[in-house]
Amino acid sequence: MSGGSSRRRVAATGGREARKRATRRLRFRQTSKPNDPRPRLLVVLVLFLVVGAGFVALLVDLQATQSERSEDLRLRGEAQRTKTRELAGSRGDVFDRDGFVLATSTTTHQVLADPTMVEDPEATARLLAPILNVDVGELATTLRGESETDRWALLTRSLSASGVDRINSLRQEGHDDLLTGIFLEATESRVYPAEALATPVVGRVDPDDQGIFGIEAQYNEAMSGVPGQMEFEASRFGSISVADWKIDPAVEGFDVRLTLNHRLQFVAEEALKAQCESTGAAGATAVASDPRTGEILAMAGVARNDEGICVVPRHNAALVWAFEPGSVIKTITLAAAVEELGWSAETMVDVPPRVVVGDKAFVDHPPHPTAPYPLGQVLANSMNVGTIEVAKAVGPAQVHTYLERFGLGGPTGIGFKGETSGSVRPLDDWWGSDAGSIPIGQGITVNATQLAAAYNVIASGGFYRSPYLVQSLEAPDGTVHAVDTGPGRPVLSRRAADELTDMLTQVVDYGTGRPAAIDGYKVAGKTGTAWKVFEDEDGGFNYGSNGDRRYVSTFAGFAPADDPRISIVVVIDEPTLGSTTASAVAAPVFSEIGEYALRSLGVNPATVVGLDQHPDGLVRAEPARVSEAETALG
């Protein structure tokens, strides 16, 4: 029995345990049923709390960011996505009076290289040298760089558009590997279409587009444009289409319109070059102007370079070179007598063979006895003694006054950088032979433009008008700012001016200025052959001695004499070959320039030449010299 009950007890105990386990399982199953949302809610709640806590943290951080680092972050953000591109403010152009472009700016390309990226410098050099127009060897050297770490080399500062096209074509033709490390950068460069024409006047700019001399320097501020800037948002793939663009437009510089006539300028330069070569001169300069206004129509200069060739230099000799003018000043001395003493061309002047002033004796060539000469002949024959006698008559004070009234010894008003005012010493500083030498043009210095302005006084009927080179400044919006030269000032009476014109006409008609004559026109002018001070072997400055002198030969005049339209001053510096007189070397250049100027200005000739040679009634046509080229053309 006990065994059986024991088994029953055991069985009963085992059954309770089993039921408990089953119940636990069932409860578990019950709680895990899909319809019970509590576990999921719990999970969501936890996640929500976590995310919420994260958001709170972010909000706190955002608040801190916005309040404390907002500006810094904004700037960093803008810097990352904002790109800027400079908009070039073009430099103004330089025109002549007719609109011919003497200087302009154009977009070209710099070609740069990173030598560390160029794998085969020799092959790349062979490829690029013809395009860049440089030596292959030199280019290869440049491409190798100065050192292994050299990462920048300028191959050319200005490459034309066709050159850019050729390089781009090379890239498309599969030369990319050889062009690796070669970069093109658009840049603005200054161009002078007429090349050396009027270089001393127009000037040049440095690589940074800043004028270094000439008009380019004088008007640098006005001509320089102000660069603009374009800001846009861009990603690594390029500009963002819908983003904002901010453009600060560039401001272009003013254009400068000169008074020069580029054709007359060319003719003057060519004439000076030819004369410089044929006379063996060190240089030459010429100024042509309109006596009615003071406008300078041509301002030319040439100088012999180191290779012995006369070329257009950079310095503007017509304004920056002061020289002793010699006998061309006699006109001003006589002007004082005509104006102050009422003398005329027929007034007789007793002229001795020599006159002593201070420590020097002055004579005439050729020698002559004491005799009365008409004032006109004194000028026509350029008589030193006669002019000094006239100066004595008017007195040194008047001579000095008239030199200044004619604009000598002072600035021309052009304002050209480096311009010289020359030197006309105050009367108190005259000493020794000055009262004799200054009236004949020694002992003072002038520049060619001053001399032109002085002769314009006579040509214009007695008014001094400041010479000027710039006609107007033209703003980018088309506004024209004319340069005001001010009113002229009276220097001579009309009678005196006409009297002097007659005397100057005699100089060309039968005096020393005959080579200055222009067929068909009446020309008035004066020669001047001055001794030039130079440094001798001992380091001293003097005029040298006979047989060892240097000269400055000048011709100043205007035409037509009765209604002057052009005045021209020609100065030949140190002619050495053949005759060195102004009559021989300067006057012919005046004639050449003047003949062209009158024709181009449309001035009709007053007389017809060569008519007597054609009784059959036909006008003679001079044969032109047949050149080889013309002969070949048949």
């Binding site: 019950q30 977009t107 060319f266 059959d616 048949g634």
Partner: protein
């Protein structure tokens, strides 16, 4: 064995469990008692859910369409921007070409280039001495502001009418002179610039069929026209050489 235990235990568990559905909603399983796991479907709720699903579906597709729309517009913008960039590039290229052409013209207009071309390509030479010829019908020519009162007028018209002064008062002259076997020299501003071969004082256009036509007998008159003739012209005119 275990299954039997579970079957017996289930009623107890169900009794202790919270009913999932309210008794009133339970479908009746028989005449006296409804089964706890069944319920009657509410048709209106089903309809509401269907409408909700439809609305959600519509909203989904609307949003999707909106996204596509935005993408399309953006693509259009990008394409437009690309086109704009292309046009800008084209403008830049054309402006560069224009600048280069202008520069070429300016360089070709430079006096030294003209003179060089005149001498080397056209065989023109500088005249030794200019000679002034009177134009036929000169009285008809008007030279405003430049003709001096002292200039003589033409007394008689020259017999050859083939020289025609057709305009005046232009600074840049246009002179065309046909010369014998050379077939003609034509000079415009270049001639005026260089003074080569053909030059004119004030008359603007002169045309002649031959050298002799150009050389006029009316030497007492002067209209400011000067012609420097080629050798052929000289021989035709009987002038000196």
């Amino acid at each position: 064995m275990t299954a039997a235990l579970l079957d017996r235990a289930e009623p107890a568990i169900n009794r202790s469990a919270t009913p999932a559905i309210a008794p009133s909603n339970r479908p009746s399983a028989g005449p006296g008692r409804q089964p706890s796991h069944l319920r009657v479907l509410d048709q209106s709720a089903a309809r509401r859910r269907a409408r909700l699903r439809a609305a959600l579906g519509f909203l989904f597709f609307a949003v999707l369409a909106g996204f596509f729309g935005v993408a399309f517009v953006h693509a259009q913008l990008v394409a437009g921007q690309q086109h704009l960039d292309d046009v800008r590039t084209q403008i830049r290229d054309l402006e560069a070409d224009r600048a280069e052409l202008i520069q070429s013209v300016e360089q070709a207009s430079a006096p030294h280039v003209i003179v060089n071309r005149a001498k080397t390509e056209l065989g023109m030479v500088s005249p030794e001495t200019p000679v002034y010829l009177a134009a036929v019908d000169a009285p008809e020519v008007v030279f405003p502001n430049v003709v001096s009162d002292e200039l003589p007028l033409v007394d008689e018209p020259a017999p050859n009418p083939s020289v025609n002064v057709v305009a005046s008062a232009e600074e840049l002259v246009n002179v065309q002179v046909s010369l014998g076997q050379r077939g003609g020299i034509s000079g415009r501003a270049e001639s005026d610039i260089t003074g080569l071969q053909v030059a004119a004082g004030q008359a603007s256009e002169v045309s002649a069929n031959s050298a002799s036509d150009t050389l006029l007998p009316s030497i007492s008159s002067l209209a400011g026209l000067q012609v420097d003739a080629a050798p052929e012209q000289v021989s035709a005119a009987g002038g000196q050489g």
